[in-house]
């Protein structure tokens, strides 16, 4: 890994990232959280969908419009994506913690958000390049929606659907392992 090159790439990469989806989603979540707090209403599904949407935005930030132009540079796609993700996460995670702090109730753990986001990134790593980010960004949304819609029943299917909530750190670890295994793709 060429650390000096990656360090010098930080500023232009920051400029190359489309920040508006994160800022819009963060703003909306913050507004909803504030409204719920003012109404003293329980967060319910808003929390789950909020985490899923934030995770989807994190995954979507991997999308690089100039990816084709950069496809054959020595700094690999894996390294460029890691840099993008790190930059977006420095804004997204504090934003999510702020939303969690504003929401009424016990607050929201970081684990489920990371589990959903890591799962999406793992899918993006292994999908063909042309359509990876848009499909992968749907993973957190689909998984969280499925958990909300079908996760109430008993049985192994329910366990799988709610893994990201019940065992977020294991899910995150598994997803990160998959990402690392695909680093040369």
């Amino acid at each position: 890994m060429n650390t000096p090159a990656l360090r010098q790439a930080t500023l232009p990469t920051t400029r190359a990232i489309a920040w508006s989806p994160l800022l819009v989603v963060g703003g909306v979540l913050l507004a909803v959280a504030t409204a719920l707090r003012l109404l003293d209403s329980p967060p319910g599904s808003v929390l789950v969908l909020g985490a899923a949407t934030m995770a989807a935005v994190l995954v979507f930030s991997l999308r690089d419009p100039a990816a084709a132009l950069l496809a054959a540079v020595p700094i690999s796609r894996f390294q460029r994506r890691a840099l993008r993700l790190a930059l977006v996460a420095t804004v997204a995670l504090p934003l999510w913690l702020l939303v969690a702090d504003v929401l009424p109730g016990d607050g929201v753990a970081l684990g489920p958000l990371l589990a959903l986001a890591a799962s999406g990134v793992a899918v993006a790593t292994w999908l063909p390049v042309d359509r990876d980010t848009s499909v992968a960004a749907a993973v957190p949304l689909l998984w969280a929606s499925a958990a909300e819609l079908f996760g109430g029943s008993a049985g192994p299917a329910n366990d799988v659907l709610t893994w990201w909530q019940t065992d977020p750190w294991w899910v995150t670890a598994a997803a990160v392992t998959l990402v690392l295994l695909g680093r040369n793709r």
Binding site: P12, R15, P74
Partner: protein, 293 residues
């Protein structure tokens, strides 16, 4: 198995054997052999011939399903060797998207960073040099979103030229360029070919005639022809004739600017055979005619 040997020097910079790539059931590149040395090599072929897939594999961007690839003496399938190849390679994909909010200077500088050039002064000088070489000296500080399609294409070309790579892989580099810019591109690529190998795909036979020492014609993932532009033109020798009217016996016909009909195929008795052009040779091959090689 298709075989291509287009060597313009003793050193082979690109060597592939049995190269195959499929998308689902469709075979985009089919057991292709290719050996290329320094110089400009043009890839001609209709849409869907497999040119872009081949170039993507030769740019280390796409892994083949089968076959071996050697680029600049390295194997792109081995990560450490792929890294070394990429340090010596320039790649221009087909109509690449850029960052609209960047200026050409910022974008080329960014690409230079990602090509591991960490000396800022050198990078600035090199970015200015390549932008000047593609005729964007006076536009290098304008936002890319304000540039025309041809100018954007030249920004991407400038990024590919960074560091004077030994192997340049260019997918339709002349797209969006006006005739004057095409002339400048030819001079630029000829100069690049003195330092290494330039592999380019194009639909333009004029480009090939003016620029390439060797030409490869592809169709449905296979090589139909390889040789010099003159040899491609000679494929149609004795198989072109012109008449005032259409001729059903011709394989291909079209009306010329002068109003007469130009025909390709086996000329009927009594007609006067015309001098072939590179277009004639290519069109005969693309029509599925094996030609006279």
């Amino acid at each position: 198995m298709s075989t291509v040997t287009a060597t313009t020097g003793l050193t082979r910079t690109v060597e592939v054997t049995g190269l195959t790539k499929s998308y689902g059931a469709r075979r985009a590149v089919d057991a292709l052999d290719l050996a290329v040395g320094p110089g400009v090599v043009g890839l001609l072929g209709p849409n869907g011939a497999g040119k872009t897939t081949l170039l993507r594999m030769l740019a280390t961007v796409l892994a083949p399903d089968a076959g071996t690839v050697s680029l600049l003496g390295g194997d792109p399938a081995v990560p450490s060797q792929r890294l070394d190849i990429r340090r010596r390679l320039g790649y221009l994909p087909q109509s690449p998207a850029l960052y609209p909010s960047f200026t050409p200077m910022e974008l080329v500088d960014y690409v230079a960073v990602l090509k591991e050039h960490t000396d800022r002064d050198w990078r600035r000088r090199e970015a200015a040099r390549v932008l000047e070489a593609v005729g964007l000296a006076d536009r290098m500080h304008q936002k890319i979103k304000s540039l025309s399609g041809g100018m954007r294409q030249r920004v991407a070309l400038a990024a590919a030229l960074l560091g004077s790579p030994e192997l340049l892989v260019l997918d339709e580099p002349a797209t969006g360029l006006d005739p004057e810019q095409r002339l400048e591109l030819r001079a630029l690529l000829s100069a690049s070919a003195r330092r290494g190998t330039v592999l380019l795909s194009t639909h333009n036979t004029t480009e090939v005639a003016a620029l390439c020492q060797h030409v490869v014609v592809m169709r449905t993932g296979r090589v139909l022809f390889q040789g010099t532009p003159a040899q491609l033109r000679d494929v149609a020798a004795g198989r072109v004739w012109e008449e005032a009217d259409q001729d059903a016996r011709a394989q291909r016909s079209w009306m010329t600017a002068e109003g007469s009909w130009r025909h390709l195929g086996d000329p009927p008795a009594g007609v006067t055979v015309a001098s072939p052009t590179l277009d004639d040779g290519y069109l005969l091959l693309a029509a599925g005619d094996p030609g006279r090689r």
